[in-house]
Amino acid sequence: MMAKGAPPSDDGVVLRVAGLRKSYGDSEVVRGLDFSIRRGECFGLLGPNGAGKTTTLRCCLGLIDPDGGSIELVGLPVPQAARAARVRVGVVPQMDNLDPDFTVTENLVVYGRYFGIPYATLRARIPKLLEFAGLSSKGDVGIRTLSGGMKRRLTLARALVNDPELLILDEPTTGLDPQARHLIWNGLRQLLSQGKTILLTTHFMDEAERLATRLAVIDHGVMIASDTPQALIRAHVEPEVIEVFGDEALAWADAHGRALATRLETAGETAFCYATDPKPLLAALADAPGLRYLHRPANLEDLFIKLTGRELRD
């Protein structure tokens, strides 16, 4: 076992996953996944529901045993040394699981004890954690009176109680309103600027685009693309998008859009015209005054839809 505070691997890799496989019965949920996260990165793991994100995280934490492949977390083999590895990792789960019977401070103290942190150390850390969560005045308040955003921020602060080398966040802003999401993002950016390493799963593309320095798109248990967000968009999607919507949009798309766009997709009453050169499309739209459209640069959502398709995943 490594001494507390020892650096992870020499090469700066905080998490290394190689050839990871996991099946449930006849269905193979993770089918040979490889990725690694270096210190200081914010790595985004994207994928539709059921793509294998949560299973991958549970394997990385040593909560379930993989059927194949290897995992090295903060320099330790998982699941063999999972307990020692988890001492140096923080986790923000998908659903809040704060202790409802405790105050804000008690939640941090009790959670810190699970890591074996001495009370004096905890007591010194807590004011900073409360300040980070914007809950300095709420230390003695019960959890039940906190808003959803406050609970999430406290959950994030709780994950930092052991000053982790890697912070794992499973859909950290699902269910939050826009204001609360921005506060969480600010907090995460602050952590990144302090040199923390983050592994983030999300299905909010704006979240991934804002935070992730590198990301991987996984679907059906395999990685289908991995790079920086900008490089992925450049490599897979035409640079500009014109969304045409309204009653006549689909008819217009069939008559004109399809010929002028590099690639055209429809979803409901909207036609997505992907183009390297948008000028002919814009000119054609100028001649169709009844139509509404939005001209914008391609983003991560376009990439995600292109790679994983438009059909609904439940």
Binding site: Y24, L61, L63, I64, D65, R83, A84, R86, V87, V91, P93, M95, D96, N97, L98, D99, P100, D101, F102, E106, V110, Y111, R113, Y114, F115, G116, N162
Partner: protein, 262 residues
């Protein structure tokens, strides 16, 4: 079919203590209400049946009926308290509040959490045993140092029924499920184990069947202890309770691993 991996032996670490302390901290906030709840039910039985039926039945097994039923109530209380803790309360922590999930993301394993819950259920059984013991002493029975032995006995009863409760917890889809355990296991156990009347009163077949009930063995220990005599066949009674406790605990561990570690 349960996959072989869930049958691995229990993994032990001292970190379970932090989970036990977590439960203690919650309990301390509600301790008075909780202890009153522990006492109220058995106390009502003891007084109502003790004085009500006791008026018709002056002596049972060589003691006043209220003393007879009081010694049964010590065991009954330990049984109900630990069962309740390991079912309703543990289910809240495991399923509703997802407290266990939070804990196993820290450097604790599910085995640590289960062990802590088991110890906690048994600890609460000791608290309720102590509360009933205090009532019995106040009513003027059990004045012998031997009576103190019902506290470790309460712990052992708590281990047995706490483990049963954890089995139910691992299988429960919701709180309603626990009603089966009360109706099909605990109530018959209460009626057949000699809490309200001596086991010898029953037909021979039922009396023989009662020998397999853990509560009967608990009462065989508690009753002499509270009347100031050393119980007979201590090793047998302790062994039966402990065997039930260990087998049920391992079953609970396997079933809970299957439920949560996937």
């Amino acid at each position: 079919m349960i996959a072989a991996v869930y049958f691995r032996p229990p993994e032990f670490s001292l970190r379970w203590i932090h989970v036990w302390r977590r439960n203690l901290l919650v309990w301390k906030k509600l301790a008075i209400a909780s202890v009153l709840g522990n006492i109220a039910d058995p106390l009502l039985y003891m007084l109502a049946l003790g004085y009500g039926i006791g008026a018709f039945v002056p002596e049972v097994g060589g003691m006043k009926y209220i003393a007879f039923i009081g010694t049964g109530m010590v065991c009954q209380s330990a049984m109900f308290t630990s069962s309740f803790e390991a079912m309703y309360s543990a289910f809240s922590r495991m399923h509703m509040q997802r407290t266990w999930e939070a804990i196993i993301n820290a450097p604790l394993s599910l085995d640590d959490v289960m062990f802590a819950e088991w110890m906690w259920a048994a600890s609460k059984a000791v608290v309720s045993t102590a509360a009933i013991l205090a009532v019995i002493l106040l009513l003027g029975f059990g004045h012998s140092w031997l009576a103190v032995w019902v506290l470790p006995l309460g712990f052992l009863i708590g281990l047995t029924f706490g483990a049963f409760g954890l089995v139910m917890n691992a299988l429960a889809p919701g709180y309603d499920f626990f009603t089966y355990f009360f109706t099909l296991v605990l109530t018959p156990m209460l009626l057949l184990s000699g809490v309200f009347f001596p086991v010898a009163q029953m037909p021979p077949a039922l009396a023989a069947a009662a020998e397999f009930l853990p509560l009967k063995h608990a009462i065989d220990l508690a009753r002499p202890l509270l009347t100031g005599t050393a119980p007979a066949a201590v090793a047998l009674h302790v062994a039966v309770l402990f065997a039930y406790a260990c087998v049920a605990y391992f079953a609970a561990l396997v079933l809970t691993r299957r439920r949560l570690l996937k």
